[in-house]
């Protein structure tokens, strides 16, 4: 008996081996090795990025429009709003919104880099599929850097996933980052196909990358290239310049190049949720200033379609009404998606690029495409180059208002920020206000910044 007991004890004691430490893997996770074995999973890793873009509060997609518009001369917000730091052009390094934008963009970049690095391991996936995924990853990386460089100026250029190297990277010049963006976009254009891989244009195609490239060329004053790229998008035949202004921000819009599918059932679009007031008896959170409203030409259909007036007892307030749905319905029934790229911008890019290159009649033609869609009379072909450039700037202001920071970036890239904002913004200081400051948590975490 005793011997048996002893034997059992020895057995039990002796088997503290590795086998006992084997645990079931987490059920809510997929291992990286497993992920890169089939195209559906890799596709899901890209979808993860789009989902986060549109699901999480605090993502750039939800912040850039509001904050850039208040920084420029497009929107007025109340003092109690978090946007007030932007409105008063006094963004501080401790502002949490700018930190979130930074964090999210670099998170997308990390995910894109991870996909780019691991794509070659996906030996069981067809080249066609891999090209599409690689193209999307490169596009996301360029898209992120485009906004980072426009919002923050010089930022670190991270192209791998090695945190040991990346954690100490210093900031890189704007030119180098733009060069990388161009390179990536050219590769993406090679890799992506003209057609969309899903319905409703919610994943980028070749022309989405081309549209961003046209914008990048314009911002870098490469007018010839900008014109060529915009022309490719316009001539692709996939998009219609005649879409009704009332439908321009609906998911069915034929003008849309890339839009984000709604993810959170509480919202169709973040912009709709922020701009449309809860009730008809309160002051809207973001107000279009009077000079902007009075600057509209008569009969501009966009005033009625994209702007709404909130009439209160003593005053009335105008707010952006491009997106009309404040809260969401079920996702399948959503009528509005967040539109990231649309055709009218490409016409305006080409108009400006042509005007700068002095091909004035063509520039005017492009401008008139946008104007006629808005129900406005054509501008004359007799205008001078500076007049056309000014007309394009004005048209961009009225076509692209409260949309993805266009106005703010235009004022900065054309060097007109001080001229325009100096008189209307009390605290305007060109030295400090053109770029968001480096978020304090980042400068603390990386002294090389």
């Amino acid at each position: 008996m005793n011997n048996i007991v002893l034997a059992i004890i020895v057995c039990v004691l002796a088997c503290s081996c590795k086998k006992l430490l084997q645990v079931d893997p987490p059920i809510d996770k997929i291992s990286k090795e497993n992920l890169f074995t089939d195209s559906t999973s890799i596709s899901a890793a890209l979808v993860g990025i789009y989902s986060v873009m549109n699901a999480t509060n605090g993502t750039p997609e939800n912040q850039i429009t509001r904050f850039c518009a208040t920084q420029a001369d497009e929107l007025v917000c109340s003092e109690t709003d978090e946007a007030f730091e932007f409105y008063s052009n006094s963004v501080t390094p401790v502002n949490s919104a700018i930190n979130l934008v930074w964090i999210n963009f670099y998170n997308y970049i990390y995910q894109a880099n991870l996909l780019i690095e691991n794509m070659e391991k996906a030996t069981t996936v067809s080249t066609t599929a891999k090209n599409q995924f690689l193209g999307e990853a490169l596009f996301i990386r360029s898209f992120s850097y485009f906004y980072l460089v426009n919002l923050f100026g010089e930022v670190p250029l991270v192209l791998t996933t090695d945190y040991r190297k990346n954690s100490t990277l210093a900031r890189t010049s704007e030119g180098t980052i733009y060069d990388q963006v161009e390179t990536d976009l050219l590769s993406a254009i090679e890799l992506l196909k003209p057609e969309y891989i899903t319905e409703r244009k919610v994943r980028p195609n070749k022309w989405t990358a081309m549209a961003l490239l046209a914008r990048v060329y314009l911002y870098r004053n490469k007018y010839n290239d900008a014109e060529a790229a915009a022309t490719e998008v316009i001539n692709s035949g996939l998009y219609d310049s005649g879409e009704d202004v009332l439908n321009a921000f609906k998911y069915i819009s034929r003008e849309t190049i890339w839009q984000l599918y709604p993810v959170d059932p509480n919202y169709n679009t973040f912009d709709g949720n922020y701009f449309v007031p809860e009730t008809n008896d309160i002051v809207p959170a973001y107000i279009l200033p009077t000079p902007f409203i009075t600057g509209f030409e008569n009969n501009d259909m966009r005033t009625g379609a994209w702007i709404r007036e909130q009439q209160l007892a003593d005053t009335s307030y105008n707010y952006p009404f491009k997106y009309k749905e404040r809260t969401g319905s079920s996702l399948d029934n959503a009528t509005e998606y967040t539109i990231v790229f649309r055709l009218m911008e490409q016409y305006l890019i080409r108009a400006e690029a042509r005007a700068r290159q002095n091909t004035l009649p063509d520039a005017v033609d492009d401008l008139n495409v946008v104007r006629s869609r808005a129900g406005l009379p054509d501008v004359e072909h007799s205008l001078t180059q500076p007049e056309i450039i000014a007309a394009v700037e004005k048209e961009r202001r009225y076509e692209l208002f409260a949309e993805w920071g266009h106005r703010w970036f235009d004022l900065k890239r054309t060097g007109r920020a001080t001229a325009v904002l100096g008189p209307v913004k009390t605290h305007w200081d060109e030295q400090n206000d053109l770029f968001w400051p480096l978020p304090q948590p980042q400068s603390l975490a990386n002294p090389n910044l």
């Binding site: 008996m1 005793n2 007991v5 004890i9 039990v12 503290s16 590795k18 430490l21 645990v23 079931d24 893997p25 059920i27 809510d28 996770k29 997929i30 291992s31 990286k32 992920l35 999973s41 890793a45 890209l46 979808v47 993860g48 990025i49 989902s51 549109n54 007030f84 008063s88 006094s90 401790v94 930074w102 964090i103 670099y106 998170n107 991870l114 930022v155 670190p156 991270v158 945190y163 990346n166 954690s167 990277l169 899903t198 409703r200 919610v202 599918y261 993810v263 959170d264 059932p265 809860e278 309160i282 003593d314 809260t327 079920s330 948590p441 980042q442 603390l444 975490a445 990386n446 002294p447």
Partner: protein, 1005 residues
């Protein structure tokens, strides 16, 4: 472990009782035992030294023994009385008066995988017993530890029922990872943190249910805290932060007894702010607008222009002014014979809340213990089954956040008790809505443990502990339409969380004991297998049209669900060698090899070990002869290593998680930056102590010095987000040192027949220091830590007062660049407590007894109100936000010298200087306090009165917790709102621990 001792005694009795009668020369002697007050003493054992037989005394204090020889030589022993040796001539009957024990140097102390005594322990162990626990009206056993043990810091998270406790044993060892000790109940590990349970998506005003809220303090007989390497190394990788051993009550042999304790009372908050009244608030607002040059309009001052300014509501009284009911009831039936003993207990505990509306935490529990030994006493089995059900209903958010509503704020409820969301066209957020969004947490906990032991080959004992712990937490949080603003087109939503934890542990051990000549040694060899599986299901349902269906997820159009699994396995081999020579020199060696599934395949195993030694110098002839007053003297020291694996599961895996679907396809996102090379964090502990007893141990004094150094820090290393993530999990070559002194003094000040006064005092001084940090200046922690300073520092601006001209706060611009930036945060403040401790006094006068326990802490604290800011952002003058009375000392005109800057209603300048204020040294204040933590007054009803009820004992008592707090801290509570590493980091005011006053009765049949 009393049971072990008793079973040992029983064992002896059995061995000998069988043939006692046979001895020819033996004759019977009747022994009767009395206490000083002439009451018979039951439960003692009498050993006859002539025959070396032991007898058990009956409940009347009598026993008949059979002895031999011409004189009688007996030893009487009892847990509560001094051992007594009786040598006298032959007699038929002997009466013995027993002296109560003064200091229990020989009382059992539970240690890892065994027991020892205070006298022979080589390690550092603090203990509180059933007496101290029973005096406190607390629902959570951890609350009973506060202040009573040297080196143990206990902080309650907040005053909501079921709130968690933070236990720190000898400070913070780890930069980032868990600093929680290992908790073990009857040999079975028990989770403390809310990580282990609950779904973190469901909020509750208590900040998450503490698993210990499901343990009935009344079931506990003792709680031991193991501190040094000698005591903790047997727990190897999990011993770095100390170990808390909880032992529950066991059945005892004797007549069947029924014990009951019933008490009821009320709880209220201990302190309040004096806030501005309506007139003062209105004046403040007008002055603020005037300072800004603003004209009050419906937009910037609807509180003044639109709303009814004749109101004067004190929101502090409104939200927190209620009283919480406290009820506690316990019944226990116990008894048995020398082979089999049982205990069955039931308990009920209920606490309501101070908030308006009906919130409560209610616990019902059952505790069963059964012990049995075989006839030859070789086989012993002991099992405990404990079940509890805790039902906790609290608002989703702590309403303490809203005591600063303006006094003219509209009434939150209309005459039909519906929520109000607007007045005169101005909408507002109604915080009362949180009270209509209850979170219901139901915790079911089943703990079972079985200990089986078998003696063989004389000196060997095989023993195995087996335990199974089942914990199920069901949570439901509802947000009905009725609790939301109608202006928001609300739909109802509900969150359902279900967490099931199953823990299994098996620990077979062999013990060998041998004593010869002057030596005694024991060897323990054991192993552990542990598996914890945690499954969570979470459902988020929204879009309900009707509040009545809100608990039915099927009625919600939008439902998302998630499920998670955590699997943790742990194996170990451990050993202890204990050697005692001449009862003076003791050497204790422990070792453990641990494997944990929380580490990558290459780093799963780690070795830990410790050596402890003690010299009982009072046994030396020199001291025995010369210093007769010194009844006990011991020097001890220990050194060893322990580890820490509180890092969560699966951290080493490289994988993707899921996010919300995008156009029908679920998205994958990487979970983390992956590093599979991290390994154990190692903690080296050094300890030296002296223990002294004087005048027959009427005074016992212990002084401890310790030094703990943690290396290879496991931490979620902060990364700049440009890497894609904010952190990566890794070992870091940082070295943290905790050093400290602990002193304990136990004194029987007076011991008269009718009056007794016992006093004990403990105080701990701890210091925390970051000794090394590789390339700190270039790391992401450059701004957080300083080598040579504590981990608990904050870096702050230097506050230079209110500018006499501008009326704004000013701060030192150290780098003279004209801006305040992080480089100007040069002032370093250490928020570590300087010292802390407690002082207990017990007075007994006849049948009355009074116990007073005072807790004290000397510490700096963070103070978010110091500069008139509430929760850090609103300057006085801001719309709808009220402030404490102190802000009236503000700047109004040039050359004013004031504590507060000018009132201002709008940003940016004034708000910015407020923000800086909260990051300045002015926000650090003295948060020291002396608290009358517990008062217990009792009266034992005279036997004559209860005899007819066949009651053995009846006691009426009055008890109070947190009765009085002396502090210069300006705020609701210096304990919970410290702003140090112990707080929740937000600085938001939280409901402080309540003052509870209760009365009750305890009885024994």
């Amino acid at each position: 472990m009393k049971v072990t001792k008793l079973t040992f005694i029983l064992l002896l009795i059995i061995c000998h009782a069988g043939h006692a009668q046979d001895t020819a020369q033996s004759y019977p002697v009747m022994v009767q035992l009395f206490a000083q007050n002439k009451e018979p003493v039951a439960g003692a054992s009498v050993r006859d030294l002539a025959s070396n037989k032991t007898y058990l005394v009956d409940e009347k204090g009598t026993v008949r023994i059979f002895t031999t020889g011409n004189s009688i030589d007996l030893v009487v022993s009892h847990a509560q009385f001094e051992n007594k040796r009786i040598t006298q001539a032959k007699a038929r009957q002997i009466t013995v008066i027993l002296q109560p024990r003064i200091k229990l140097l020989d009382e059992t102390v539970v240690i890892g995988y065994g027991t020892t005594t205070k006298r022979k322990n080589t390690g550092s162990v603090s203990r509180i017993s059933v007496e101290e626990i029973g005096k406190q009206p607390v629902g959570n056993p951890l609350a009973a530890m506060a202040g009573r043990m040297a080196g143990v810091q206990v902080t309650q998270s907040n005053g909501n029922a079921g709130a968690g406790f933070v236990i720190r044993i000898r400070g913070y060892n780890s930069l980032a990872q868990g600093n929680d000790p290992l908790f073990i109940i009857d040999g079975i590990p028990f989770p403390n943190n809310n990580i282990g349970i609950g779904t973190d998506n469901i909020g509750s005003s208590n900040g998450g249910q503490s698993p210990f809220a499901s343990i009935n303090p009344s079931d506990i007989i003792s709680m031991e805290v193991l501190k040094d390497a000698d005591a903790t190394a047997i727990y190897g990788s999990r011993g770095a932060n100390g170990v808390v051993l909880i032992t529950t009550k066991k059945g005892r042999p004797g007549k069947t007894r029924l014990e009951g304790i019933l008490s009821a009372g009320k709880g209220r908050i201990t302190r309040k702010f004096e806030m501005l009244n309506s007139a003062e608030y209105i004046a403040m607002r007008k002055e603020a607008l005037n300072n800004d040059g603003a004209t009050p309009t419906h937009l910037n001052a609807y509180d003044l222009m639109l709303w009814d300014t004749t109101r004067n509501t004190n929101w502090q009284d409104y939200f927190l002014g209620g009283s919480a009911a406290y009820h506690d009831a316990n019944l226990k039936l116990s008894g048995g014979n020398e082979h089999t003993q049982f205990l069955a207990g039931v308990g009920y505990h209920c606490e309501s809340s101070v908030y308006p509306e009906d919130f409560y935490a209610r616990r019902m529990n059952l505790h069963l213990n059964l012990n049995h030994s075989s006839a030859n006493k070789k086989l012993l089995i002991s099992s405990t089954i404990a079940y509890s059900n805790d039902n906790n209903v609290l608002p989703v958010t702590d309403l303490t956040n809203y005591i600063n509503l303006s006094p003219v704020f509209p009434a939150l409820l209309d005459s039909l008790n519906r929520l109000v969301w607007s007045e005169k066209g101005q909408t507002f957020f109604n915080p009362y809505s949180y009270l209509r969004q209850p979170t219901r947490t139901t915790t079911d906990n089943l703990r079972t443990s079985v200990t089986l032991s078998y003696k063989f080959l004389e000196r060997f004992q095989f023993r195995t502990n087996m335990g199974y712990n089942f914990l199920q937490v069901n949570q439901l949080n509802t947000t009905p339409v009725a609790a939301q603003s109608p202006f928001d087109n609300p739909v109802g939503s509900a969150k359902f969380g279900n967490t099931t934890g199953r823990g299994l542990i098996i620990e077979p051990q062999i013990n060998y004991e041998h004593a010869f000549d002057n030596c005694a040694f024991s060897i323990l060899l054991g192993s552990t297998y542990q598996n914890e599986i945690l499954r969570q299901h979470f459902i988020n349902a929204s879009g309900y049209q009707n509040d009545q269906l809100i608990e039915f997820a099927g009625a919600a159009p939008n439902v998302t669900a998630s499920t998670t699994l955590n699997d943790y396995r742990y194996v170990a081999l451990f050993s202890r060698f204990n050697f005692t020579w001449r009862d003076k020199w003791i050497l204790n060696l422990t070792g453990r090899r641990d494997g944990s599934s929380r580490f990558g395949p290459a780093n799963q195993f780690g070795n830990f070990g410790a050596a402890g030694a003690a010299w009982i110098f009072s046994q030396e002839k020199l001291f025995r002869d010369k210093w007769t007053w010194l009844s006990f003297g011991k020097l001890r020291t220990s050194y060893g290593t322990t580890g820490n694996d509180q890092i969560g599961n699966y951290q080493f895996l490289d994988n993707y998680g899921t996010v919300m679907p995008y156009q029908g396809q679920v998205g994958y996102v990487p979970s983390r930056i992956y590093n599979q090379d991290y390994a154990w964090e190692v903690n080296r502990k050094l300890e030296a102590a002296v223990e002294l007893g004087a005048w027959n141990n009427r005074i016992l004094f212990i002084a401890n010095y310790f030094r703990n150094r943690t290396q290879n820090q496991l931490l979620s290393y902060r990364l700049p987000d440009q890497t894609g993530f904010g952190s990566v999990f890794m070992n870091f070559p940082a070295k943290v040192e905790n050093t400290g002194w602990e002193f304990e003094l136990d004194a029987t000040v007076l011991r008269k027949r009718r009056f007794q006064w016992n006093s004990n005092f403990n105080i701990s001084f701890t210091r925390n220091k970051l000794v090394e940090f590789k390339d700190l200046a270039a790391s992401s922690y450059a701004s957080t830590y300083e080598v040579g300073q504590s981990l608990n520092i904050v870096k702050l601006y230097e506050f230079t007062g209110v500018h006499p001209e501008t009326g704004l706060y000013t701060f030192e611009d150290f780098n003279k660049d004209g801006f305040l930036s992080f480089d100007d945060q040069k002032i370093i403040k250490d928020l570590t407590p300087k010292f802390y401790g407690g002082w207990q006094n017990e007075f007994t006068l006849g049948k009355f007894s009074l116990s007073i326990f005072i807790q004290f802490v000397k510490q700096p604290g963070r103070h978010y109100y110091k500069l008139g800011t509430t929760a850090g952002i609103y300057s006085p003058g801001y719309m709808n936000v009220n402030h404490p009375h102190e802000v009236l000392d503000r700047w109004t005109k040039p050359d004013d010298v004031t504590a507060f800057q000018r009132f201002g209603a709008s940003p940016p300048v004034r708000v910015a200087s407020h923000n800086w204020g909260t990051f300045s040294d002015a926000s650090i204040v003295d948060a020291s306090f002396i608290r009358l933590k517990n008062l217990y007054f009792s009266y034992d009803v005279h036997e004559g009165l209860i005899k007819n009820l066949r009651m053995q004992q009846c006691r009426i008592f009055l008890q109070a917790q947190n009765l009085l707090t002396i502090t210069s801290y300006f705020g609701l509570d210096p304990e919970t709102n410290k702003g140090s590493m112990l707080d929740n980091g937000t600085g938001n005011p939280q409901l402080p621990p309540l003052r509870i006053i209760a009365a009750g009765v305890s009885f024994t049949f």
